[in-house]
Amino acid sequence: MNINRRRFVGLSAAAIAAPHMAFAGQSLNIVCTVGMLADTAKQIAPSNITIRALMGPGTDPHAFRQTRSDVVALTKADLIIRHGLYLEAQMEDLFAKLGKRKSILSAGEAIPNQHLLPYDDASAQYDPHVWMDPTLWIHVADAIATELSSKLPKNSAEIAENHARFVANLLRLKDYGHDILASVPKQARVLLTAHDAFRYFGSAYDFDVMGVKGISTTSEAGLYRIEELVDLIIEGQIKAVFVESSQSDRNIRALIEGTAARGHDLKLGGQLFSDAMGPAGTYEGTYVGMIDHNLTTIARALGVDAPKRGMNDRLNV
């Protein structure tokens, strides 16, 4: 009885307080496009803020199709966090329209241009896959934290604290990567995947990154390219190649067969997360978990004795 009464009082207090809090602007409805951003925002934002990701963790941003509920969420959002750099190509027009009324943070574009990799010399377009380098992701985290504290001045202390913790995590992740990959000799530092999503990883950890086919989803690899890669693998004595969660593994398996026919033992190094994170609710479904998984998988495939369950001992094996 007593408890019930206390609960009743508490509920009434909450009911009275809730609209008040909204009025004070301390509630914020945040919508993020990709899972990586939503996870980052969740890590930084105060605990009472709801954050919604349009794309589920396992969804490839290139293939996403927005539906009405997504558009409704965007129009109702107080803050939209998108990646930018033409990652959400199918939503560019929509963002252009929303930009007139909504505050939109293009978090990926917060990274200074000199750190970005252009597609080629002539192109003004940059490779959007920046999340592959945790150091660059710090810029993204900074931008989100700044935006959040300007929207939620009363929570700025909590945000700053969360932000510092997240950045520390990113730095740990960066160091962890350097540590486990340090013992990989120069000539073995080759990352071969189905398409060019790992260039930022390459520049961060001094890897040669090679994709079987180009960026465009309509493009198709030629046989010349396959044979060229087979030669390269054998010359460089490369030990492992990788498949991506969002790409067909056929071309990669063709490389394994091609090198095997010439007596080279090329291993399938495992599956990397390129454009989408792991399943929701798992460690791999978070940004840190995704990168941890990639780093650990690459290191172990190249013969390093990295911890099986990764930096935080949380990877699924």
């Binding site: 589920g56 030629g222 390219r225 969002s246 067909s248 010439r262």
Partner: protein
């Protein structure tokens, strides 16, 4: 031999030659039946089955995107498409073209509905699902070559065995009915052959190449001969030759995707055949 052309090229070459042969062989009959776009329709009709296959394999706890489960789903879905096309053409006055266009758009649309359902529900690793069954010649694997080999033998022998009823059915359906080969059975057989070629081709060589291989060699062969049987053989040879040459060109020169090269080669062969046969005609 492997030094000369490389293992991957050799595999792609064998696979392309085999696939070119059987698709050209079947394609001749599909062409005469005026059903060349059937393969395009069936390829699109695979989408709902593909996604249902993905959901089933996820819920059964199988390895996600197990490509053979997905392919099975895709096949069942396209088979249902064949049944619907048959139903529409037999039961209504709607033309074959209307039936295949309706199946293509409605199945694909329903597939998109499922896809948008899946993308937010987050049941698993659905990323890249659409790409998953779209192959390319250059990524040919040994198991692919084996599958193509089996399918080619199957389809080509079906064509050999049924060449007379198929010809009779295409030329004069009533005649074939009288001879004991029911029209709807022959029509279903031909659709089934096209279906098998399409599904396997989709997974191994990609959609566009399948459509081209079922059509262009047959059209080219038709220019050179008026006899159905020699036309189907000639079509098989054209398909095989273009596929083989295309693979070799794509292996020798950089930045040339094999599938696209093969299609363009076949088109060039068609163009040359048009010119040569017309010159020959006007000289007579």
């Amino acid at each position: 031999m492997t030094e000369l052309i490389g293992y991957n090229t050799a595999l792609a070459l064998v696979g392309a030659l085999l696939f070119g042969f059987s698709s050209g062989h079947v394609g001749a009959f599909v062409y005469l039946r005026k059903a060349s776009l059937l393969s395009d329709s069936l390829a699109h009709a695979t989408l709902p089955g593909l996604i249902i296959g993905f959901l089933v394999s996820t819920f059964l706890g199988m390895e996600e995107k197990n490509s053979w489960v997905l392919l099975l789903g895709a096949g069942i879905s396209a088979l249902f498409g064949v049944v619907v096309i048959q139903w529409i053409t037999v039961r209504t006055k709607l033309g074959f073209d209307t039936a295949i266009a309706a199946v293509l758009s409605v199945f694909f649309g329903f597939g998109i509905v499922l896809l948008t359902g899946v993308q937010s529900v987050s049941v698993g690793q659905q990323a890249g699902l659409e790409d998953y069954i779209l192959g390319s010649v250059s990524g040919m694997l040994l198991q692919d070559v084996v599958v193509i080999g089996l399918v080619s033998i199957m389809c080509s022998s079906a064509v050999v065995v049924y060449r007379r009823p198929l010809t009779a059915f295409i030329f004069d359906p009533v005649l074939s009915e009288m001879a004991g080969y029911a029209q709807h059975r022959m029509s279903f057989l031909l659709s089934l052959l096209a279906l098998v070629i399409t599904i396997i081709g989709l997974k191994i060589v990609g959609l566009i190449l399948v459509v081209a291989m079922l059509t262009i060699p047959a059209a080219t062969a038709r220019l050179w001969t008026t006899d159905v049987w020699s036309m189907s053989l000639l079509s098989a040879v054209f398909g095989s030759a273009c596929a083989g040459i295309g693979v070799i060109i794509s292996a020798l020169l950089p930045s040339l995707p094999s599938g696209a090269v093969i299609v363009v080669l076949m088109f060039i062969a068609l163009g040359l055949s048009i010119v040569v046969t017309h010159l020959r005609c006007s000289n007579v």
